[in-house]
């Protein structure tokens, strides 16, 4: 992973050419190269970089002249807040809606669930964000258009960020419930005279939630990616705006640092998901 990021980002172009004033003398260029270690062979630069990364040092930003790790840590809380809010929002809507639509296929709520499922697949989050601003901030003046000052500022960006995963969760839950209600143990419970409510809550819901566990982790990492758009549109001071700025400024050490950070985070989360899966589903443990 580190190898991939290091070499692809380094191929972007000569950092010296970007950083030094156009009228700099060759001597000045050389001095800059030496100062930042760009004169050493690529392999040597990489080994040094690898060692630093393992110690939690992701280098320094070329434009902001600060350690990348500090910049990331400074922006991380805002991104976490947004991504967690979006995740909770998708869960809060998707879980009840997905289960109800699976239990009552064809009902009005099922129609709503299908619409949300479809919206998640067909509406780009950044366009949705713009439409939400137009409708709820500009026309109805219900929410602020950008910034991060109060809980109200969180509503629109969290909603825009959550739609894709909300749709996926609703679809997943709906088909899981549809499948489970055909299982033998549900039929047995019904034959025993257990009420439909108890069947839904005790037998169907817990089993339908199992596949959701693996999706939650993946969706959270995708939200970190999606936050690049959403944060930029809402001027949310998080990692996404930092990454977007770094891309626009060709600040490649910072781009590199942020992508490595997000990727490492994603891999860690994947591991946690696997562990959680084993804890929740005894069948996975036996395998």
């Amino acid at each position: 992973m580190l190898v991939l990021v290091f070499f692809t980002v380094r191929l972007t172009g000569d950092p010296v050419g970007l950083m030094v004033a156009r009228n700099a003398t060759p001597e000045q260029r050389e001095a800059f190269r030496v100062a930042h270690g760009f004169d050493r062979p690529l392999a040597e630069q990489f080994i040094g970089y690898l060692g630093d990364a393992l110690r939690g040092d992701l280098g320094r930003s070329l434009r902001l002249h600060l350690p990348n790790m500090d910049l990331i840590m400074q922006r991380l809380p805002a991104t976490m807040e947004l991504a967690l809010a979006a995740l909770l929002l998708s869960l809060a809507i998707a879980v009840p809606l997905g289960i109800i639509s699976g239990v009552f296929p064809g009902s009005p709520l099922d129609l709503l669930a299908r619409l949300i499922g479809l919206a998640g697949q067909t509406i780009p989050s950044f366009w949705l964000a713009m439409i939400l601003i137009l409708v709820f901030a500009v026309n109805l003046r219900l929410f602020p258009t950008f910034g991060r000052d109060s809980l109200q500022h969180l509503v629109l960006p969290a909603l825009a960020l959550s739609v894709a995963s909300m749709g996926q969760m609703v679809r997943l839950l709906r088909s899981a419930v549809l499948e489970i209600t055909r299982e033998d143990y549900v039929r047995t419970a019904r034959a025993k005279g257990v009420s439909e409510i108890v069947i839904t809550l005790r037998h169907v819901t817990p089993n339908a939630l199992i596949p959701l566990v693996s999706v939650v982790g993946v969706n959270f990492t995708y939200m970190l990616g999606g936050s690049v758009y959403i944060e930029t549109i809402f001027a949310w001071p998080g990692l996404g705006t930092l990454l977007n700025d770094a891309i626009n400024d060709s600040d490649f050490p910072l781009v590199q640092a942020i992508t490595i950070f997000i990727a490492a985070f994603a891999i860690g989360l994947n591991l946690l998901t696997d562990v959680a899966y084993d804890l929740i589903d005894p069948r996975a443990r036996q395998r």
Partner: protein
């Protein structure tokens, strides 16, 4: 997904018609309003892209500043010649949306083609040859799939320059692991089957087994995945344009139009509304069509949403 007559058709499915699934597919299509709608939408977008020169009232970069910043025709300051309004340079929004179909479809189509070509080659070799090839391919695939996709695309996109061919390459490369994983899994399942053992026993070389005996059995899941990946790619291309990492800003692509429209969102909202609508309708159509393709190609997957 939209309502469809799941299962009801299986009983009436014709047993064989030279062993091809075509009549069943057509029959399903006629009974599935979602699939018909998907087919209509996708055909519309494809025709729009092909005949953009004839359909668009103006050229994609044609415009005069006197006509700039006008809303839709039916709005107060709208101009009769510019149905969906004009942007800050006086370029016709409708015409740019029409031309934008070309970029999205080209990237989607060729990106998926490239991704599946790379992915199938890697997946077939890994699944069939096994051993070191498999270890290497699997490691690379797992590594790439562990990245959040957008981050991976951004890393690769910062390396490539901004033109259409590069955008296709970016998506072809970053999406290949998805195809490799699918093909490898399917090949592992098929490899132990009797007909493969029989062909190998007859002395067929590895390439022959892979291309003539394994590949044809992969067409169903492959075509299904291609459809869904294509709609995802149209999405991600727009997203990449939005970050300024796709085709150059003067090229009329839906993502570029949205990126530009964002700066004028509060004052000229029509600059953002229509390109986004075009993306959504296209993704909607391709997805509906994808559901139909999946049902036709592999009835087993019908309930696995």
């Amino acid at each position: 997904m939209l309502p469809r007559a799941d299962g009801e058709l299986t009983a009436r499915q014709p047993r064989s018609w030279r062993g091809r699934p075509l009549p069943y597919g057509l029959q399903r299509l006629l009974h599935d309003p979602g699939a018909i709608l998907g087919l209509i939408l996708v055909s519309l977008v494809v025709l729009t892209a092909l005949f953009a020169d004839q359909l668009a009232p103006y050229g994609p970069t044609e415009g005069s500043l006197t006509d700039a910043k006008r809303p839709e025709t039916w709005q107060e300051r709208g101009l009769p010649g510019h149905l969906l309004g004009t942007d800050q340079l006086g370029q016709d929004i409708l015409s740019r949306v029409i031309y934008g179909a070309r970029v999205s479809l080209t990237v989607g189509f060729f990106g998926v083609l490239l991704a599946s070509a790379i992915g199938v080659t890697l997946g077939l070799s890994a699944g069939y040859l096994g051993g070191r090839v498999d270890a290497l391919v699997s490691a690379a695939v797992n590594l790439l799939l562990s990245f959040p996709y957008l981050v991976l695309v951004i890393i690769v996109a910062t390396v490539f320059g901004r033109n259409l061919l590069n955008v296709i390459l970016i998506f072809g490369i970053t999406d290949a692991p998805v195809f490799a994983r699918l093909v490898r899994g399917e090949v592992l399942r098929l490899r132990g089957q009797d007909y493969v053992t029989a062909v190998r026993g007859l002395g067929a070389p590895a390439w022959r087994v892979m291309l003539l005996h394994l590949l044809p059995n992969l067409v169903g899941p492959l075509v299904t995945l291609m459809t869904f990946e294509m709609s995802a790619m149209i999405f991600y291309e727009a997203g990449l344009s939005f970050l300024g990492l796709s085709v150059p800003p003067e090229v009329p692509s839906w993502g570029n139009m949205l990126a530009l429209g964002r700066s004028f969102l509060y004052i000229y909202p029509w600059m953002s509304i229509y390109p986004g609508l075009a993306i959504s309708l296209t993704a909607f159509g391709v997805n509906l069509l994808g559901d139909w393709v999946r049902d036709v190609m592999d009835p087993r997957l019908r309930h696995a949403d």
